[in-house]
């Protein structure tokens, strides 16, 4: 970030509208789920207090639900309920269930046996005993359960933003993706304050004396409903199409901000995690998503990339970058690596990614099949004239490329190969290269520009305009600063892209982002 550092306070004031909406959404989401959880959990707790045989099973199931990681539970909900508030509420409800059921059960079974006997002996019916004796006496314990459930729900509700249900999670996860501390804190602090506030209020209710507790039990459901109504279901308003963007994409100039300023695109947008976005588009929950142009899921879910006709997404062309002393040490290397140059376009790379990410074929097999089909594959010469060390980042595409280079080097030269794949992010990979831990790895032009070189905004605007300019700028600067050489680009561009379902795009006649804008503007 080259912009001047702003304080947290500035950020919160600037985003106060959004902050308020998110906070209200968060409260609403929490209390709808809580209300439903009480509606389900209380009768279940009463049931198992009556039929003790069921208690093991019910508490067991609720306990297992509690152990499912929150993200996974949200993930399970998508095929069942799609995205948005519905699955989020169900998932939150399931999390809140255990403390409510367990405390209802404990509270009721803990009522003094002689009091229950007296109630029975005086001729009270089962229902009268429940409402006049058991529930009132169990109320402090039940309230403690609801209190626990509330705190859990406030916390887990931050994850709801992953499946486009809103809440303070939008700031938190957007901030994490954009490495924007103020944004993270603007979401995390209110969320923590909400948890503390509700916990405190409920502790006050819990410690009321018997007489006041009677009144509180009447007021509480009303209050719960009122707080629930804060949540205005986001899908209530809408445009013709719905877009789902990752939190990172939302906050970037070369993302949603650019779409708005350069294209003037106005589309109903919800924030969603990368993990579920493609699937949601496939299932028609979303119409437009932000993705990466060579992602294998593009093929798996039958999506098509919209042409970025105004070039707001910077080019991310892949090319191997090599230390110059390694080129001297292995004279054959440059020629060999360039064998791949221009051989893989976006479609081919998507296909290859699809085979590893989606069909779960090994990157080695995919790499070999491709080289064979291009007549590039040669058997291992088993050479021993030094060992070339290949690095790669930790995702499928890079594994495939590393495997191809390894096969090419073994087949065309007498060098040996050692691969160091799965080197975390860009920073780790690049450090490994400059510190002579690896000799080369595949890098992307956009990454080189924005992550490693980080020139001023003016320079970025200037060189981002075309893929050649970016490549040349990277090439010159890397050579000057790090004595690292960019070899020829492989051919594909793994950039940000807007995508739609193939069939819908064809039906609407949308091929470019401008087409999309025109379609949306048409009434």
């Amino acid at each position: 970030m080259n912009e001047q550092q702003q304080t947290l306070w500035d950020f919160m004031r600037q985003q106060s509208d959004k902050l308020l909406t998110q906070t209200l959404e968060h409260i609403g989401l929490t209390f709808i789920s809580l209300f439903l959880a009480v509606l389900v959990g209380l009768p279940l707790g009463i049931l198992i207090a009556r039929k003790r045989k069921l208690s093991g099973t019910v508490l067991g199931v609720a306990g297992v639900l509690q152990t499912i990681p929150s993200i996974a539970l949200l993930g399970f909900m998508i095929p069942l309920l799609g995205i948005g508030p519905k699955p989020a509420i169900v998932a939150l409800l399931l999390y809140a269930l255990l403390p409510i059921i367990r405390n209802t059960y404990t509270g009721i079974t803990g009522v003094d046996a002689s009091v229950k006997e007296a109630a029975t002996a005086m001729g009270m019916s089962q229902w009268q005993i429940l409402f006049k004796v058991e529930l009132p006496l169990a109320m402090p314990v039940i309230l403690a359960g609801i209190r626990t459930a509330t705190v859990i729900t406030v916390g887990v509700a931050t994850l709801a933003s992953y499946i486009a249900a809103g809440g303070l999670g939008e700031f938190i996860f957007g901030g994490i993706s954009l490495n924007n501390t103020n944004m993270i804190l603007a979401g995390a602090i209110p969320a923590a304050l909400l948890a503390i506030l509700f916990d405190f209020l409920l502790s006050r209710v819990q410690n009321l004396n018997i007489r006041k507790l009677k009144k509180a039990t009447i007021v509480l459901p009303v209050l719960l409903l009122l707080l629930s109504s804060f949540y205005l279901i986001p899908s209530a308003y809408g445009s013709k199409l719905t877009a789902g963007f990752t939190p990172e994409f939302m906050g970037r100039q070369d993302g949603n901000l650019g779409l708005q300023s350069k294209y003037g695109l106005k589309i109903h947008t919800i924030v969603i995690s990368d993990a579920v976005m493609y699937k949601a588009a496939y299932e028609k929950q979303l119409d437009v998503i932000s993705g990466y142009s060579t992602d294998g899921r593009l093929k798996a879910y039958d999506l098509v990339v919209l042409n970025d006709d105004k070039h707001i997404f910077p080019p991310y062309y892949a090319a191997p970058i090599v230390r110059e002393d390694a080129l001297k040490q292995f004279p054959e290397l440059e020629k060999t690596l360039n064998l791949l140059s221009g051989k893989i376009n976006d479609t081919v790379m998507t296909e290859l990614n699809y085979r590893t990410d989606y069909l779960h074929q090994s990157p080695g097999q995919v790499a070999k099949d491709f080289l064979v089909s291009k007549n590039l594959w040669r058997p291992d010469r088993g050479g021993n004239a030094g060992v070339v060390r290949i690095g790669s980042k930790i995702f499928g595409e890079q594994y495939i490329l590393a495997n191809m280079y390894s096969m090419l080097i073994k087949g065309y030269t007498d060098y040996g190969v050692s691969t160091k794949t799965g080197l975390g992010g860009t920073k780790i990979c690049f450090d490994a290269l400059t510190n002579n831990q690896v000799d080369f790895y595949p890098e992307y032009t956009g990454t080189g520009l924005l992550v490693i070189l980080q020139p001023s905004q003016n320079v970025v605007n200037l060189v981002e305009a075309s893929k050649e300019k970016t490549y040349n700028y990277d090439k010159d600067e890397f050579e000057k600063r790090y004595q690292i050489k960019w070899l020829k680009p492989i051919g594909f561009n793994n950039a940000y892209a807007l995508m739609m379902r193939k069939k819908q795009a064809a039906d609407l006649g949308v091929k470019t982002i401008s087409d999309l804008k025109n379609y949306l503007d048409k009434k």
Partner: protein, 299 residues
């Protein structure tokens, strides 16, 4: 009034109550006496169907109660528990009014009846709004009794009603209990393990052991005509005191000025003890008492 026929309750293979039968006449107090685990409490709880019998029949006022709806049945039977079983979240007033509320009495009538009972049971009106945990043990037990009596049920079941009290309080409340006119019109079945209590309060006693009735009869039947060794040994430790309490002036054909024929020798002696002038009457009474005992033993 109450008729129990071949009543039994089995828990698995254990016969907690094993085929017992007894009758209780109207306005009579029947005490179920025995050690813990003899089946006396189980027997009591079958009478208001807190426990369902395995076999046998129970009639109250010639009606088979096993054919009645349990809730309706219970509203006409007062029940006093050892640990009072007061609702901790109800005030004293609300606790006493539970049954009238169930019976849907007019609020005025409830209020009137509650204050009437408070007075009879020597409870201050200030306690109406108090919660049970603010009361002493004796007060709690009185409230428990008031709650059982409030709707004036013809039958009263009491499960160790004084069991949780200390000896001084117990004696005091027992005395009040005997004097309470409300109780004179009731048919009472009471469970206790306290022999003194059984003899003091019971018109008749069922002595129970391992689920069976060993002997039933008046206190003097048990004392002077014990059916077997078990009955004799059960009473042995406190025999003399029990005899003093059981034998009345009428039994020994004595007239003492200022006392009724139904008064026990114990009662008369207690009063005379403190009166120097009557010491002659004291000796006379004692000799008549021993004469009567001798007679009983030879019968």
């Amino acid at each position: 009034m109450i008729k129990v026929e071949h009543l039994g309750k089995h828990f698995g293979r254990v016969k907690a109550v094993d085929d017992i039968s007894f009758d209780v006449a109207e306005h009579e107090t029947m005490v179920l006496l025995g050690t813990s685990g003899c089946g006396k409490t189980t027997t009591l709880k079958m009478l208001n169907r807190l426990i369902e019998p395995t076999h046998g029949k129970i009639y109250i006022n010639n009606k088979n109660i096993l054919e009645e709806k349990p809730e309706i049945l219970r509203r006409s039977i007062g029940y006093v528990l050892q640990n009072n079983g007061l609702f901790p979240h109800y005030t004293v007033g609300e606790n006493i009014a539970i049954v009238p509320q169930l019976l849907k009495w007019e609020p005025k009538k409830i209020q009137h009846r509650v204050s009437e009972l408070l007075e009879k049971l020597h409870l201050s009106k200030d306690l109406l709004g108090a919660y049970p945990n603010e009361l002493s043990g004796g007060q709690q037990q009185r409230v428990g009794l008031a709650r059982a009596l409030v709707s004036d049920p013809p039958v009263l079941l009491m499960d160790e009603p004084f069991g949780a009290l200390d000896n001084v309080t117990k004696a005091k409340i027992r005395a009040e209990f005997k004097a309470l006119d409300e109780l004179k019109k009731k048919t009472i079945i009471m469970v206790t393990h306290d022999v003194q209590e059984a003899f003091e309060l019971g018109d008749r006693i069922c002595l129970m052991d391992v689920g069976k009735i060993v002997q039933q009869g008046t206190p003097s039947d048990l004392l002077f005509k014990p059916k077997n060794k078990f009955v004799r040994e059960f009473l042995e430790e406190q025999r003399l005191q029990l005899e003093f309490k059981t034998i009345t002036l009428k039994d020994i054909n004595q007239n003492v000025a200022g006392f009724q024929p139904e008064h026990s020798v114990w009662h008369v002696l207690e009063k005379l003890k403190s009166d120097e002038n009557k010491s002659q009457g004291f000796e006379h009474l004692m000799s008549a008492f021993y004469q009567y005992k001798q007679q009983q033993a030879h019968e």
